[in-house]
Symmetry: C2
Subunit: 429 residues, 2 copies
């Protein structure tokens, strides 16, 4: 951990910078794979699955037999845990449903928004060193609550040519029917353009490595919506003399174990606590199975000491962390001052892990400072709000002249005429 | 107008296709201008304003004197109309405010979303053949309601080196302080990267031509959020034997006058009404000042006759029009079946112009089929919803074991430990 004391505001930008990725090489790989999928469909997807995931499959479609087998392989206590997490995530996302409100803006002029599901959505669940079945919950539950009609899930197969039982069990539990064994750029391409097996979707969700991200950004340019841009995962922890150094260290390590590029920052106004946290980090690190990964991330991590609370919150808001843990006694007070963050964890007993798995909030969150303009996935991510309006005779009488006047000022006489022709009829009735 | 009778479903995609734009040339222009702005700031912006808008300015900053002058130049009846539109748009967008709801997902586990303004936003108001002051209302009002701190407005100057009085008057009325005389790619670049005069923003809003759109998509790749992708404006009108052909024709023309590339489609199950609408189109067209533009758009427009209501609504939803006018007696019935559209206008007396200017709904809407996954600009476009959570001793006791179990299944023992270390303390207290 690098310790930075009282940095001058002019240095903040440089201090808070995330690693930049050279996109040019990514782009040529993505373009090549996409063209191949557009031309050769499933065959191309199977080839890339062999090339990158090292398994030769005859189909990427997950069979009912595989799902039945998965249900047997997941033990009861994990099933219970998944169900409890499902219930919490469901409760929180259902609460985001908003009833339609009809607003009469002027007498006789009614306007409203109606939430309408995005019909076809694609969920990407990364593979790699662990089966991330929690991402199935985080993307699948709001998609089901929103009533998206076609929910497609892609995830890369393991060396055995299968998806992890926990992923299949969870997908089946929440009702996802179309599951495919393919990952990386080829999965994004399959969902964006469609293949013989994989339906083409309107919006693609989910985390992934830099190739997956480049693929999502490229399909976005071609008209497919995506949840958000993304970079490596991040945590910022705010600590003071009321903090428990062991708790703080455990939160920093939970982030650091994600990947070597994980971003970990400790913010404090109390220089005194840093040594206690460092001591705890050393002790806890040696116990971690993923200590090799975590220690690389920790080397690049920072502890930043600020002179006062104002500077501290200004710098945190400038960083706009994906996760912000406020691990102090009076967490609400600083919580009220958060302007930019993906998800905020208040108090000593609210670690990021809670939100990663089971508290109810979503774990698909904006990284890389995108929290300045984006929020994480929520129910709204799976719907679009169509506006409706209905105008009565009285209404057109009331606002018609206003519209005519404005249309004329914009030199749009066709617009004016669409009002006049109605207004005249209503007036001369 | 091309008349298409009972098209087979297999032909729908081809029929509903929007014109494709060759992006490669756009991209090189955009890249060149952006690099110049990054290196030379205001100087570059002034040069491109001279090159493209044919005016030599010494500064792009709109002065207080210019605003004072604009206030004098706008006549009282236009001021009254703008104020009435402002009030309606304000009422509708204020109604989109949602109070924070704290949800206890499990005893002792509280989660909530908090709407937080995007601090710095850029509003782009196109110039061209008319001063689009209505766009100032549509973007500026929700930005003010959301309490965005820094609201930047850019619009290209006229030949006199000034912005239209109606644009300046409207911007001042709703409280926008930072107004710049620059348009096109250089305006998007200035707001995305910042110059000596123009503050760098986090999200850019507003319509524009294909260059503006390419510029917005490029800054989006560099981490600046944008409201939505966009193509030429569109209307779909649904008519039947209850429709008034004059009204229908006026709505088609209002769209056609926007630009030669405007997309205009009439959907009906009643072949009989087409001739009446065509006759009205001919009569009304000759009266239009912008008939040269409208007639080109009309040549490419289509009247599509479907065999029944199911086919009709399926095809409309497949088209996903920016504007959908349901100009029939029982408009609500079909309105309930709309799955994809930007904004819907119900009944004979609800023309698109109402929503373009003054009913209260927003006129910045998804075109080109993007309504399948995107909605128009609303209050949510100017905020992000930060999730918060707070867990008590009871809460960590209740969900701790679930989180431990899930973290272990994902091989993330650091995650597990951040729970265990707290759980042990709570249990052994």
């Amino acid at each position: 951990m690098k310790i930075i004391k009282y940095p001058n505001r002019s240095t903040w930008n440089e201090l808070l910078k995330r690693p930049e990725i050279d996109r040019s090489e990514l782009e040529s790989v993505v373009t090549k794979i996409f063209n191949d999928i557009k031309n050769n469909g499933d065959k191309a997807v199977l080839n890339y699955t062999f090339k990158y995931d090292k398994v030769k499959l005859s189909t990427i479609i997950v069979s009912e037999g595989e799902i039945a087998e998965a249900k047997k392989l997941v033990n009861d206590s994990l099933k219970k845990a998944i169900t409890e997490a499902r219930n919490n995530i469901e409760r929180f996302h259902i609460s985001q449903n908003i009833p339609t409100k009809i607003i009469e803006t002027t007498q006789g002029v009614k306007c409203w928004q109606k939430s309408t599901p995005i019909k076809k959505v694609g969920l990407y669940v990364p593979g790699g060193t662990a089966p991330l079945f929690s991402t199935v919950l985080m993307l699948g539950i709001p998609a089901m609550i929103a009533r998206c009609k076609e929910i497609v899930l892609c995830s890369p197969p393991g060396k055995d040519g299968k998806l992890a039982p926990s992923i299949l069990y969870t997908a089946d539990l929440i009702g996802i029917k179309k599951i495919f064994k393919t990952g990386g750029v080829q999965a994004i391409g399959a969902m964006a353009f469609g293949t013989e097996s994989v339906p083409k979707v309107y919006k693609i969700f989910g985390p992934g490595n830099q190739y997956v991200m480049a693929a999502k950004q490229k399909v976005n340019l071609e008209g497919i919506a995506i949840d958000m841009p993304a970079g490596p995962s991040e945590v910022a922890v705010i600590a003071d003399k009321t903090s428990n150094p062991a708790y703080v260290a455990s939160d920093l390590l939970a982030q650091a174990e994600h990947g070597k590029d994980s971003q970990v920052i400790l913010f404090t106004t109390e220089a005194g606590i840093i040594q206690d946290v460092l001591k705890e980090l050393d002790q806890q690190l040696v116990e971690l199975p993923r200590k090799d990964i975590a220690s690389v991330a920790l080397e690049n991590s920072k502890a930043i000491i600020l002179g006062n609370e104002v500077d501290l919150m200004d710098m945190v808001n400038e960083y706009a962390p994906e996760h912000l843990i406020i691990s102090i006694d009076d967490a609400e007070k600083l919580g009220d001052k958060v302007l930019n963050a993906g998800s905020v964890f208040l108090g000593h007993l609210t670690p990021e892990s809670a939100g990663d798995y089971a508290s109810g909030t979503n774990h698909t969150l904006p990284t890389k400072g995108f929290a300045k303009a984006y929020n994480g996935v929520n129910l709204d991510s799976f719907v679009k709000k169509i506006t409706f309006q209905q105008i009565s005779e009285n209404g057109i009488f009331n606002i018609g002249p206003t519209i005519e006047m404005m249309a004329m000022e914009e030199n749009l006489y066709g617009h004016k005429n669409s009002i006049s022709i109605r207004l005249n009829k209503v007036i001369n009735k």
